[in-house]
Structure formats: structure tokens, C-alpha cells
């Protein structure tokens, strides 16, 4: 069956931004459509384009405030209508992220495994077995919200968020998994940590991941980290 193009609502997000909404759920097909639309708009490089914010099921389009919002809207409607339905396989870039699971790096691994009724090693293995998609980057610069978590590994957030989550912490929050780019407060359950730098404003691009990328976690031990950092 050919999937149909999802319906799109357009509303004002700001005087200089439109919000294009395809739905309000974590649906991989809608998310893939958002990334495809963002790529289509970017490839056309309209002179008014300032910023695109692809989210789970919606896209923010920021334009030059000197241009006519109505004309921008008409152009966006044209692009939306020109899109065919997109297969759910999103990005073609696959990024492997090494993770040290458990111990000091993953303070919630044991308790989370207990809660899910499995051994810590099993939770780590199942988390690392998944293939994820960067559904959205937000919360903080470079923080990837990864879709594709095994639904059996979904975990509620901590009742009281931690004041300090180490940079590189790989965590589960609800039905998603993500990585904290920078030391910050946070309420997700921390399974491990990656030595990779997720956000470096001195680099171009500044993030390890781009929206739509596919991601795999690879379990490593501390010795491998020493090697990684060498």
C-alpha cells in the first residue's frame, strides 16, 4: 500500500515563523516526513529562509522578518503539496556511538534493569541492539531525541531530576533515548556514558548528530575509552 501524504496544518509560531504540523504523536512516518520536508526546503534555499526546526511531527520555519509572511506561507504550501509520501527509513547517515554502560557512567542501569525485570547486562545489550533515528535536536544545543527505543525498555523519568547529569550521559526518558551533550540538570534515567563530544560550537557543524541521522550504540569498556581518547 502506498502511504498517503500526511495532512499539514500551518499556523503562526511568531511574526517571523510558521509552524507546519503533521500530527502530535511520536510516529516515525510523520517524523520522516518532517525531515524530508526540511531537506526539500533547504535544497530550494529560498532567500527568506533563516532557520528550520524539525521536531517530532512538526517543522518550524523562520523567515526574514522583512519578507511577506503571506508569500512565505504560499511558497511553503506549494512545497508541502509537492512532497510525495516518504518511506519511514529516514536519514542515510549512520553514526556509531560508543557507550560505557553501568558503573559510575550509568548510575541508573541497575535500578532501571530491576524495574524492567531484567539483568543490567541484558538492559545494556538490548539498548545497544536498537537502531535509532535522531527525531529531533533540542532541549539543549546538540541534545538528540532518539526514536526507535524498544517499547519494553520505556522508563518513567525520575520524580526529582538530578541537579547534575554528566556530559555524554546516555539515558532513557519515557519511550525515548537521548544523550546529554553538556553537564546539566536532567530527569532521564542514565544507563551509560559516551566519550564522544555531542556539541562543540568551535566545529562546523557543531554537533556530532544531525536531525534524521540513524544512530547505533556500541558497548565499550573503559580500556577502549582510553584508546578512543588516545
Amino acid at each position: 500500500m502506498t502511504p498517503s501524504r500526511p495532512a499539514c496544518d500551518i499556523e503562526a509560531l511568531a511574526d517571523d515563523a510558521w509552524l507546519l504540523r503533521f500530527g502530535d504523536t511520536l510516529d516515525p512516518a510523520l517524523n520522516a516526513h518532517v525531515h524530508a520536508l526540511a531537506a526539500r526546503i533547504r535544497s530550494r534555499a529560498p532567500h527568506w529562509l533563516r532557520d528550520l526546526v524539525p521536531a517530532f511531527a512538526s517543522l518550524g520555519v523562520f523567515f526574514d522578518p522583512a519578507s511577506s509572511p503571506d508569500r512565505v506561507r504560499v511558497e511553503l504550501e506549494g512545497i508541502v503539496e509537492s512532497m510525495e509520501a516518504v518511506a519511514t527509513t529516514a536519514g542515510d547517515r549512520l553514526v556509531e556511538i560508543p557507550v560505557i554502560y553501568g558503573g559510575e557512567c550509568g548510575p541508573d542501569l541497575e535500578s532501571a534493569a530491576q524495574e524492567l525485570g531484567m539483568a543490567a547486562a541484558q538492559l545494556a545489550a538490548r539498548h545497544a541492539a536498537g537502531e535509532y533515528t535522531v527525531a529531533m535536536i533540542g532541549f539543549a544545543p546538540g541534545f538528540p531525541y532518539l526514536s526507535g527505543l524498544d517499547p519494553e525498555l520505556a522508563l518513567p523519568r525520575l520524580a526529582t531530576p538530578r541537579a547534575r547529569v554528566a556530559a555524554g550521559s546516555v539515558a532513557i526518558g519515557g519511550a525515548q533515548t537521548g544523550i546529554y551533550p553538556r553537564e546539566s540538570p536532567g530527569g532521564w534515567r542514565i544507563l551509560g556514558r559516551t566519550p564522544r563530544v555531542l556539541f562543540d560550537p568551535e566545529q562546523n557543524p557543531p554537533t556530532l548528530l544531525q536531525p534524521g541521522d540513524r544512530v547505533r550504540f556500541v558497548a565499550i569498556d573503559s580500556a577502549a575509552v582510553a584508546q578512543e581518547l588516545a
Binding site: 503562526a12 529531533m136 532541549f139
Partner: protein
């Protein structure tokens, strides 16, 4: 030789800002930039800079700075008590100072002021802007507010200042918008969202550059939000406690709280001037009005810039 400003006292929250960052929001990078870009631009033009040079944004109480060489400065925004070596420094006009100490004190009638220096504050450009991203911890001075002991390099200037004592001009620009400060803040509501208009809100002291937090009678808890969506400076969010938050320049790029609408561009600068405890009320407005008011505000700034350029050319 590079001129420098040494920070003797930092003030309450003084950050380096320019007109902000574009093009990186898809990676979670906030726009940042001066909370009132027009006032920052005008300060720059008065100091003889391009509008997008880096300025200091001052919050509630200003810093004390020592300049090691003559400078041309300009102050815009809320009225700030300003003294150079004991002499009052006027706002809204170019002022030349010899080397010495500029003491900026408390702000009156608003929460923020902007200080431009000829040549601009020369901090490194990060992702296309010199603005401080406080949440991301980059840009400006090490991604944070100024601290006593910091030194800021000043950029090269076209017409070097060479005053041997404080020297100013007999004209100034009117910094204060002719709108009534008690007029409602206009916003474009999202259909079916709870209305902000039915009560007078108070500005919470926990407001910051990321968001203006409002306090009042809690609005009815909205149905649980779907999934996070893009947000922008001006977005009005309603967290579960029913106390709205209006996002400002340091807004995150996506948010999960239900949205009530957005404050129109023409009224955003007024939010920069809200002081803790201040009362605010809102009025719904349509897109056409928002556009007309934004164009009028732009035209006003353009007129003032033209006036400044004409005057400076004849100095």
C-alpha cells in the same frame, strides 16, 4: 595596540550580545542576542559602529568598567545611572571618554540597558555571532555573564576617539517609545487556547533571558500536550501549574508545554524592560495588526538611524 575594558564590578547580569544567531536552530542552538535589537543597534550607530557590533546588555544594575584608552560610548535602553570619574554621563548620544573608569549603577523605569563602544566588544565570533548563549555556555565571554576581573578587547575603530575629558554632543535620540508603558502587551492567540486577557499578571522574579514568568490566578490546566514542537522568542507557554511563560531571546528551540500564542514582534522589546513584580496585561491582536506595528517600529528605527548618521557626518 588593542584597547581594553577591564571589569571592576560585573553588575547583576551583564552579557555580551549582538543581533543573535541564525541558521543553527535545527541543532538546538538558541537565537540569543540583545533582548531589544533596535536599542542595541541604535547604541552601536551612536558609537559609530555597524548595527550588529557586540554591545553589553545590562540587567537591573550595571557594571563598573575601566577603559585603558579613549573610547566613544553610547547608552540606550532603560535609564541607567552613569558616571565617568564622578561626572554624569548622558544617555542616547555619542559620548567621548578618555581612559578612566565608567561606573554604571541602578536602572530606572526598566530592566535593561545597552552599552556600545566604538569598535565593538571584540569577543570571538561563535557560530556566526558574538552573543552569549548562557544556557549553551558559549559565545560572549566564555559563555557566561561578566565577572569582576574579566578584560574585554575593543575592536578597531574607524574614527579613533581622542578625548582628554568627557565630551558629548548637544543632541540626543528619544529612547523611550511614545507608547504608554501601561498599554497591554499584544499577542496573537492560538485558536481554542486559554485567554491571557482576563487578568492582570505579575512578572515573577525568576524571569530571565530565556523566559518571562508570569504569576496570577492559574489558568485551567490544558489537556496534556502531544509531543514537543518548535518554539520561538515570543511564544507563550502554559506549564501544568497554569502560570504562563513568555519565551525571550534565549528560548530553547523546542518545547513540550501547550502554547497559548505569541507576543507580536513589535511588543517583544517591552518585555525586555519588565521588572520583577511589575504588572502586565495582554490584548489579543491579529496578524495584520502585528505586521503593521512591526513595520512602523522598523520605520521608526530606520528614521532614527538616518538622523544619527546625518548628525555624525556633520560632527
Amino acid at each position: 595596540m588593542t584597547r581594553q575594558a577591564s571589569v571592576l564590578q560585573a553588575g547583576l547580569l551583564t552579557t555580551v550580545q549582538d543581533l543573535g544567531r541564525s541558521g543553527w536552530r535545527h541543532l538546538g542552538v538558541a537565537h540569543a542576542g540583545a533582548l531589544d535589537p533596535a536599542q542595541a543597534q541604535l547604541a552601536n550607530r551612536l558609537a559609530g559602529n555597524a548595527g550588529d557590533a557586540a554591545v553589553l546588555e545590562i540587567t537591573l544594575r550595571g557594571p563598573t568598567l575601566h577603559f585603558d584608552a579613549p573610547v566613544r560610548i553610547a547608552l540606550t535602553g532603560a535609564t541607567v545611572s552613569a558616571k565617568f570619574e564622578g561626572t554624569l554621563v548622558p544617555m542616547g548620544r555619542p559620548v567621548e571618554l578618555p581612559a578612566g573608569t565608567l561606573e554604571l549603577g541602578a536602572l530606572r523605569g526598566g530592566a535593561r540597558a545597552w552599552l556600545a563602544v566604538d569598535g565593538g566588544f571584540d569577543v570571538p565570533m561563535v557560530l556566526g555571532s558574538r552573543s552569549t548563549d548562557l544556557r549553551g555556555g558559549f559565545g560572549g565571554v566564555a559563555g557566561r555573564a561578566l565577572r569582576a576581573g574579566d578584560t574585554l578587547a575593543l575592536g578597531e575603530t574607524v574614527v579613533p576617539a581622542n578625548a582628554t575629558s568627557l565630551r558629548s554632543v548637544p543632541w540626543w535620540i528619544d529612547l523611550h517609545h511614545d507608547t504608554d508603558p501601561h498599554a497591554p502587551i499584544r499577542y496573537q492567540p492560538v485558536p481554542q487556547a486559554a485567554s491571557l486577557c482576563s487578568q492582570v499578571w505579575r512578572v515573577s522574579p525568576s524571569s530571565n533571558r530565556q523566559g518571562l514568568r508570569l504569576q496570577g490566578e492559574a489558568l485551567p490546566a490544558p489537556a496534556a500536550a502531544g509531543v514537543s514542537e518548535p518554539v520561538a522568542p515570543g511564544t507563550i507557554q502554559l506549564p501544568p501549574d497554569g502560570q504562563p511563560i513568555v519565551l525571550l531571546a534565549d528560548a530553547q528551540t523546542v518545547g513540550g508545554y501547550p502554547r497559548l500564542g505569541h507576543v507580536i514582534a513589535a511588543d517583544l522589546p517591552r518585555l525586555a524592560q519588565c521588572t520583577p513584580g511589575q504588572r502586565l496585561h495582554f490584548e489579543a491582536c491579529d496578524a495584520a495588526t502585528a505586521r503593521r506595528l512591526a513595520c512602523a517600529a522598523q520605520a521608526r528605527v530606520a528614521r532614527i538611524q538616518w538622523m544619527i548618521d546625518t548628525r555624525l557626518a556633520s560632527v
